[in-house]
């Protein structure tokens, strides 16, 4: 934990710069736990040191995400800042039992990108709205703890075939509808969809409850 926090604070201490960590390794899970604690500290006390660590980790990655999806550099940086401002404002909505910090930040960046690019919203069911149906929220004991979840997810992603991993990456980073992905890969649409189905089956299994 201390080592991973240090690696966030100081890029030179990162044991594996460039983010090319092997899937399923300890540092990723420890890093996630540290960032989750930082989000909780921002929500609870407006902790600026915690926010500084979140900024150092996520701002350059959100910028990279925006660039990858074709945003011009200045716009990518603006959206990275907007994402981090939203992280600050909405930190109290982050629930460590439900999601990794990175997946929560990803949803914020995704929605800001859609808004900026298409002037569209991303219709969602927020946790607030599910509160209207108290019985429908997942019970805490149904959820894996964050570290186990992160390790299992990375383990499952490592088992994707190269073809499955490719359609997953294109889905997230190419902003293409599935027919366009099929065209780019020169495979039938059904193949794209079945690769995604097989990939999601592995991920669902990894994140699912053992007892079910």
């Amino acid at each position: 934990m201390i080592a991973s926090l240090a690696s966030v604070l100081s890029p030179t201490a990162d044991p594996d710069p460039g983010g090319a960590r092997a899937p399923g390794t300890e540092p990723a899970a420890d890093l996630a736990a540290g960032l989750a604690a930082d989000l909780v500290a921002v929500a609870a006390a407006g902790d600026r040191a915690a926010f500084a660590r979140l900024f150092a980790h996520f701002a350059p990655r959100v910028k990279a995400y925006m660039l990858k999806l074709g945003m011009p550099a200045q716009k990518a940086e603006d959206l990275a800042q907007d994402t981090l401002l939203t992280v600050w404002r909405k930190a109290s909505l982050y629930d460590p039992a439900r999601a990794e910090p990175a997946s929560w930040v990803f949803t914020i960046a995704r929605n800001l990108r859609i808004d900026a690019l298409r002037r569209e919203r991303h219709p969602e069911v927020s946790d607030d709205e599910l509160l209207e149906h108290e019985d429908e929220r997942p019970r805490a004991d149904d959820l894996l703890d964050g570290d186990r979840r992160a390790r299992r997810l990375r383990g499952a992603l490592a088992t994707l075939t190269p073809e499955q991993a490719e359609v997953v990456r294109l889905s997230f980073f190419a902003d293409l509808a599935h027919p366009a992905i099929a065209e780019r890969l020169d495979v039938p649409l059904g193949t794209v969809k079945s690769r995604l189905r097989l990939a999601m089956a592995k991920i669902r299994k990894a994140l699912g409850d053992d007892d079910r």
Binding site: L31, P60, Q81, L85, W88, A99, V105, R110, R118, F172
Partner: protein
């Protein structure tokens, strides 16, 4: 054409709150929704299903977790003008001029499914337009930047829509009542996902009006579809 004095469909919508869907979006559709590559109209149909389906919410959580891993693993891009100090300064400026958070969806009609509230003021305020005998419509998203469209259709019991196929993706999400086609019977919360060469003939088959959201990814095709749909009724 507007029929504000038509029988209220409100009563039928009460089953929404207890709906347990049997027809679900494909994994591919949930990946498109979660990755942000799906247009607004199609996303609205998926969000409405998610509101009633814990299983698909769990799959979506998996999709978003994958998004998180991909984000985490991206090589960080060097920042040019963006700094922590500048961002903190913006936070300070904003908190100095902080406006109270606007009331969430609570100001809207609670009888409406939550994802619909930004699009529709209230159930009673829906301006149903007569499209053909037995079919009324409210346009929700006439045309979005990504080319999608979404509308509510209210179909009288026993009305059969003509057989049709589609070029793009068409999602039909039932809000109240039922319809059936060659693929099955659909009730509140159920999502019918049709694309490519699929042809189907939906029939509103219960004793109540069937209210559904229909979303497509291509407005021109949709216009064409509506044209073909209504051709027999309006004699084009």
């Amino acid at each position: 054409m507007t029929a504000r004095n038509a029988p209220s469909p409100t009563a039928g919508w009460t089953s929404w709150r207890t709906a347990r869907p049997n027809h679900h979006p494909s994994d591919a559709l949930l990946v498109a929704y979660g990755s942000g590559s799906l247009g607004e109209g199609l996303s609205l149909a998926v969000a409405l299903h998610l509101a009633r389906c814990p299983d698909c919410r769990a799959t979506l959580a998996g999709v978003e977790a994958v998004g998180g891993v991909l984000l985490d693993d991206l090589p960080p891009a060097p920042l040019d003008g963006l700094t922590l100090a500048g961002t903190l300064a913006r936070l300070d400026r904003e908190s100095a001029t902080a406006t109270p958070p606007r009331p969430a969806a609570s100001g809207r009609d609670p009888a409406l499914p939550a994802p619909l509230r930004p699009y529709v003021p209230s159930l009673e305020g829906l301006a149903w337009q007569r499209l053909a005998p037995g079919v009324r419509r409210v346009e929700l998203l006439p045309r979005t930047a990504s080319g999608g469209a979404a509308q509510l259709l209210r179909i009288a019991p026993g009305t059969a829509l003509p057989h049709h196929g589609h070029g793009g993706v068409e999602l039909t999400l039932v809000l109240s009542g039922h319809f059936a086609d060659e693929l099955g019977r659909y009730g509140p919360g159920d999502l019918a996902e049709v694309d490519g060469d699929t042809r189907h003939q939906p029939i509103a088959d219960s004793h109540r009006d069937c209210v559904c959201l229909i979303a497509t990814d291509a407005p021109l095709r949709f216009t064409g579809l509506m044209g073909r749909l209504m051709q027999p009724f309006i004699g084009l």
